[in-house]
């Protein structure tokens, strides 16, 4: 008895609850981690801890984020996938490859495999990154989406003629309807926000668990040393071990060829269909719009658009903003100020956006001036009408 007590590291023994805490932090930081009790049983190779560890290894090793489909795979399938994944990563212990896949034994081997993975890389952090909540974390910098979506439809105004009161009633009804849609959208937004908050809280708890784990993992590793000590030494026959490749059924070859051929045929068909459509459209579109006025009008509008686009582009390029890639960007706070080549600094982006804003405001003012002139001209044509422009900004 005395002897055994001496083998325990005195520093670890002084913090009596340190080991359970460390293991608890580990299991909280992993998705659906098993309880500390499972870990303890695995050290003594108890069979009841086996299936929980197979499932945990499966979650850690599977490349896809967890979904219902994955969770419903049978234990044997999960075990087989775990074995082949570990082998392809170069796991050295043969005993694992020889374990039965029905979850009846081998929990200590699985525990060793888990700690091998934990030692190789930041597993809890990787799993957190996989499952992170993306909302509120990202924003887009390019304006493509905003420009592509059509704005609200311009309200249709009838300038002349008496207005039927029924039309006004109809408009009132429409307005009331839109109002109610707005209210229910806002309610939906509230409900979804509270859902989002709850998800974020859960994510925070996982984050705290990971931090706790990192603080206390030394205790865990010392304990794992004792686990390794209880195992029988392995025969170092790694050189003669044939590489364990995942089993590919031989029949698959023929089916794959067939699939490839079918896809190629489909692609050809689609290309033909696209070509036909394009020709038909060109015939149709080319047909309408003949005549000198049409082509003159088209040329004029095209020139106007090109001029506007050129002006805008010049305005933006003048400030030398970097070419902004499309798609959402993740907001990351960095202390060191180092940036990868695909990263954008917030200050630079803000500057670019401000200059774009200034350009667009200039365009807006110009267009407003044009509108005012046009209105004045129209009003001038109606005698006896007094024109009171709104107070200038």
């Amino acid at each position: 008895m005395g002897r055994r007590r001496q083998r325990v590291d005195p520093a670890a023994g002084a913090r009596a609850g340190a080991l359970p805490e460390a293991i608890a932090a580990l299991s909280r930081s992993l998705p659906s981690g098993p309880s500390p009790e499972i870990f303890r049983r695995a050290k003594f190779d108890r069979p009841e801890a086996t299936s929980a560890l197979w499932q945990l290894l499966f979650r850690v090793l599977s490349p896809l984020p967890a979904g219902n489909a994955l969770a419903s795979l049978a234990l044997e399938v999960q075990a087989r996938l775990v074995k082949s994944a570990l082998c392809s990563q170069g796991y050295p212990r043969l005993a694992l490859a020889q374990l039965p896949e029905d979850g009846s034994q081998g929990s200590r081997e699985l525990l060793l495999a888990l700690s091998w993975l934990l030692a190789r890389g930041p597993v809890p952090e990787q799993m957190l990154a996989q499952a992170r909540v993306p909302l509120g974390d990202e924003m887009t910098v390019c304006q493509c989406e905003a420009l592509a979506s059509p704005g609200p439809p311009a309200p249709h105004m009838e300038a002349e003629g008496p207005v039927d009161v029924r039309h006004v009633q109809w408009l009132m009804g429409k307005l009331r309807f839109r109002w109610r849609q707005l209210v229910s959208s806002q309610q939906e937004q509230c409900a979804l926000l509270s859902k989002l908050l709850r998800t974020l809280e859960r994510e925070n708890q996982r984050l705290e668990a990971v931090l706790a784990w990192r603080r206390s993992e030394l205790v865990f590793w010392r304990w794992m040393d004792t686990v390794l000590g209880t195992c029988a030494p392995e025969v170092p026959a790694a050189a003669s071990q044939p590489t364990f490749l995942p089993w590919v059924p031989e029949r698959g070859g023929g089916e794959l060829d067939l699939a490839v051929r079918e896809l190629q045929a489909l692609e050809e068909e689609l290309q033909e269909a696209v070509e036909r459509r394009r020709v038909a459209w060109e015939a149709k579109a080319g047909g309408c719009g003949r005549g000198p006025e049409w082509s003159a009008a088209r040329r004029a509008s095209r020139e106007a658009v090109e001029k506007e686009l050129g002006a805008l582009q010049q305005c933006w390029e003048r400030d030398g903003g970097p070419a902004q890639p499309h798609g959402p960007h993740r907001l990351v706070r960095r202390e060191d100020g180092a940036a990868g080549d695909r990263d954008l600094r917030a200050a630079v982006v803000i500057r670019t956006l401000r200059s774009q804003e200034a350009c667009l405001e200039a365009v807006l003012r110009r267009l407003q001036g044009q509108c005012r002139q046009e209105l004045a001209r129209l009003v001038g044509a109606l005698p006896g009408l007094i024109w009171i422009p709104p107070p200038g900004r």
């Binding site: 109809w170 109002w179 209210v183 229910s184 959208s185 939906e188």
Partner: protein, 398 residues
């Protein structure tokens, strides 16, 4: 955007069951004629609208069942559970032991206030389950006792408590040669009350559906179940997800976008043919028309015929009055289907007839005592006549 359905009375509960059944079996149908992703979007949209999800995956209809006697409700609940595909919520129904003897006044003045709190509680729980609640769909008959009187009372309450939500009432127009003597009284009372508190009334005539069953479907012995299934099919093809012109990226979020007194004629099964339009006086003038197309070739379907201004009132342009909703996903094994939902003068004749018959009875004060006994006075009748006459007049003057 979710809809909560309130099924009232024998009629409402039987039809409600058929509607949910039709919606879910269409959602699960494999002959969607569209890509898998499209199909999944369709299914997800349908599910969110009408069903809530339970732990073991069986969808629960977002519905509240109300009746004054337990027989029909129990039948409805067990039919749903037997299907194995979906079911009603455990605490979603309210029923009593006695009926109301087809007395509108009893339903409105006695049952309503007496059970108001319990019924509104159940409805509130159902609404709270929705992440994004868009409105109510209330199924009831016009001429019976429970469904109509209580339905009018419940709709009024919903207007008070949920004034920001949309309410659409599905009303069953009774057979012309109907079973209930006072059905015309019940009808005018129901319609006038609903006109004030509901946002849209979707009307289906028993006679018209009967004709569909007999002529188009060749059913010999037409039962109420046949009628209800045809009705459910029509409603399903209106309510299932579609794209509208503004937002072609996702399924239209709010399905209840129809004005008052909307009324669907038959749903046509073959593709729409171009209509020849002279200024034919036979065409009923419409306030609004909505065409819903599902299935093959929807992108190339020609709906220009509906944009003819001759179809619409003078004070409304066709672009404001006519809408098309489309989806490539076929509905319930029909390769192509089309539904026309129309708010037009089509309803003037039947409405006028019912008002006329009710007035004749009223003039001789027949059966009035059954109503005054429970608080519906002669003034209430006169008010109803007045508002319905106004409706008829405004439609005639379109």
């Amino acid at each position: 955007m979710s809809i909560v359905t309130v099924q009232l009375g024998q009629c409402g509960n039987q039809i409600g069951f058929e509607v949910f059944d039709a919606l879910l079996s269409d959602s699960h149908s494999s002959q969607g004629l569209c890509s898998m992703r499209e199909n999944e979007a369709y299914q997800a949209s349908c599910k969110e609208r009408f069903f809530s999800e339970e732990e073991n995956g069986v969808p629960i209809a977002r519905a509240v069942l109300v009746d004054m006697e337990p027989k029909v409700i129990n039948q409805t609940l067990s039919k749903a559970a037997q299907s194995g595909q979906w079911k009603y919520g455990q605490h979603a129904c309210f029923c009593q032991k006695q009926g109301s003897g087809n007395n509108w006044a009893y339903g409105y003045s006695v049952h309503g206030p007496r059970h108001e709190e319990s019924i509104m509680n159940i409805i509130r729980k159902e609404v709270e389950k929705c992440d994004s609640f868009s409105g109510f769909f209330i199924i009831m008959s016009m001429a019976g006792g429970t469904g109509s009187g209580l339905g009018a009372f419940v709709t009024q309450n919903l207007e008070d408590q949920y004034s920001n939500s949309l309410k659409m009432n599905q009303i069953i127009w009774p057979y012309g040669t109907g079973e209930v003597i006072v059905q015309n009284y019940n009808s005018i009372l129901t319609l006038s009350h609903l006109y004030r508190s509901s946002d849209a009334l979707l009307l289906h005539e028993n006679d018209a559906i009967h004709k569909i069953c007999a002529k188009l479907m060749n059913i010999k012995q037409i039962s109420f179940s046949d009628i209800n299934q045809v009705l459910a099919h029509q409603l399903g093809s209106v309510f299932q997800p579609t794209y509208s012109a503004e937002s072609s990226f996702h399924y239209r979020r709010n399905p209840l976008g129809i004005d008052r007194h909307v009324r669907p004629p038959l749903s046509g099964l073959p593709p729409l043919s171009k209509m020849s339009l002279n200024k034919d006086l036979h065409f009923n003038t419409s306030i609004a028309n909505l065409v819903i197309l599902r299935g093959k070739d929807v992108q190339s379907a020609d709906v220009e015929g509906f944009k003819d201004p001759a179809l619409y009132t003078s004070w409304l342009k066709p672009v404001n009055a006519f809408n098309v909703w489309k989806t490539q996903r076929a509905f319930s094994k029909y390769e192509k289907s089309a539904v026309l939902v129309s708010n037009s003068q089509f309803l003037v004749k039947p409405l006028d007839m019912i008002v006329g018959k009710a007035w004749n009875m009223f003039a001789s004060k027949a059966y009035i005592h059954q109503y005054t006994k429970f608080g519906i006075e002669e003034e209430d009748f006169l008010d109803s006549f007045t508002s319905l006459e106004q409706v008829v007049a405004s439609y005639c003057n379109l």
